[in-house]
């Protein structure tokens, strides 16, 4: 198990803050996007891209790399922030995000954005596609592991559970699903729209090894991912309890911010709360 040093923890937390800030800048610049679910996943993306994933920004198509599928593709802003910061492309490419000549699409496109392993946006696909990737890696005896980030609202889609069943049948211990459980979806609180209670039991009943972590604790996320590597007979689901809109007081736990764009004043307020200043030329 990795013992994270204080410096490592601080560094990952700082990265998460910067991913939040960049997500909001990108969304503000585009005049469109999904801030709530991007902010809830910031620590998860920080830990994956800056600690866990075996990837090489210079060789995004390296066949032995770990794979990551952002199944909740509407959180594209935080993925783009992570990929840019990790060196897959220049952050400035997102200055005209939303224009037809910007390569980076509203939702992740594997053919247009370096480092995106799978196109996403229509909710539900990540788990089953991840099953195929994990099967492929196993057949090749590759060390490549597949990570899929899904949303809790997304879990209402039946295809998620079709994929979950297949992963369990084939005992895909090289597949890790991280569930961003923030209990808020587009129309309101998940427990009102369509309750998905007993989430851990649902995944356990499907044959998965389940653990629950605080999705805003980089230490707990790292420990969870470490433990996942020790599970050799079943796929792993890490339920990350999160807060939608995390880090920006007026966005937290409010479904309005699932898919709305901050004003200039709101962006400045948000960046102030995150402890990062607006880039003068940003």
């Amino acid at each position: 198990m990795t013992e994270l040093s204080y410096e490592q923890i601080t560094s990952l937390e700082k990265i998460a803050r910067s991913l939040r800030a960049d997500s909001l800048r990108f969304i503000y610049g585009r005049g469109s996007g999904h801030p709530g679910g991007a902010l809830s996943a910031a620590e998860i993306l920080a830990v994956l891209y800056f600690h866990e994933l075996r990837i090489d920004p210079q060789h995004p198509d390296w066949s032995e790399r770990d794979r990551f599928i952002l199944s909740k593709g509407h959180a594209s802003a935080v993925l783009y922030a992570a990929l840019a910061r990790r060196g897959f492309f220049d952050k400035n490419e997102l200055k005209n995000w939303g224009e037809v000549d910007c390569p980076h699409q509203g939702h992740p496109d594997r053919l247009k954005t370096p480092g995106v392993d799978m196109t996403s946006g229509i909710l539900g696909h990540g788990v089953a596609v991840g099953v195929g990737l994990a099967l492929a890696a196993r057949m090749k005896k590759s060390p490549s592991r597949t990570y899929v980030l899904i949303g809790d609202g997304e879990s209402q889609a039946g295809i998620v559970w079709e994929g979950a069943a297949a992963a369990a049948k084939y005992r895909l211990s090289n597949l890790v699903v991280i569930l961003d459980l923030n209990d808020v979806q587009l129309d309101g609180p998940m427990h009102e729209i369509m309750p998905m209670d007993h989430m851990a039991q649902r995944w356990e009943a499907c044959g998965w090894y389940v653990m629950q972590v605080n999705g805003h604790s980089v230490r707990q996320l790292v420990e969870g991912l470490d433990l996942a590597r020790e599970i050799h007979d079943k796929p792993v689901c890490i339920i990350a309890r999160t807060t939608k809109g995390k880090g920006v007081s007026f966005m937290e736990n409010d479904s309005f911010w699932h898919g709305n764009v901050p004003s200039k004043e709101q962006l400045e307020q948000a960046l102030l709360e995150l402890g990062v200043e607006e880039e003068k030329n940003g």
Partner: protein, 319 residues
Amino acid sequence: MAELSMREGYGRALADYGKMNPKVVAVDVDTSASTLSHFFAREHPERFFNVGIAEPCAVDVGVGLALGGHIPFVNAFAALLALRSLEQIRTCVCYANTNVKLAASYAGLSDFKDGPTHFAMTDIANMRALPNMNIIVPCDAAQAAAFVPLVAELVGPVYLRINRGSTLPVYQPGSALQIGKGILHRQGIDLTIVAAGSMVGRALLAAQELDKDGIHARVVEIHTIKPLDGEILLDAAKETGAIVTAEEHVRAGGLGGAVSELLAETYPIPIERVGIRDEFCPTGRNIEGLLDACGLSVAEIIFAARKVKKMKPGGTEKQ
């Protein structure tokens, strides 16, 4: 001896080809004993994945396998593959442009006993509208088998339409076969019958009958509905001046739609489309009788041929 069923031609060919190409894998949805992907499963159990009755999952698992460098053949009933999994096919296969082969079995009306719930009569239309998709409709068991290596070796999404039973045999094993290239089966000057799948054999029968009346019909097989062979169709339009299309599919959006769209824009001539009327077909006792009952008889092709010939400028029907 009864002709080999198209699904058996396909299933055995997939198992055989799998011996030569270790990248080929197969996914099925609890229908391997029907689609006959079980021949592959027996030969290559480590490369066969049965995900149960979950077509959307099967397509997405295929997508993941393709992303991992394999060549997945996703086997399912065409009615479900083309409709229940249509969004998976749109997003994860066509838009993401993944190297997935959709083996759509029990196509058209070929599952005659199970009836309209199991018929796939709109699948070509569903697939044709999708960018990046290649659509292949073999005419018989031998051709279905011959297409397996070609489909596997074409990089990109393919929809391969497989009938449950046998069709009138047409394809000579070993003869030229190329994705995107139509086949001229018979020369003729008065009109061209453009046929796909099970209707190729019927089109040839219709041409023989027309010949007796002095009407010389060309017969062109279009096995690749997308990308369409514009050259062979334009030649047919220019040289024979009238076209009848024939397919085991609704008239909207299939072969007839594709040919009509092409020629309306490039070389307008009289066209008649033989296909399933805009209604749901009944259950049948056998496939040949059901095809006849659903507007796909040889007589329908002959009727359409006479009609288009008459519609040609200065055309008169010979009796």
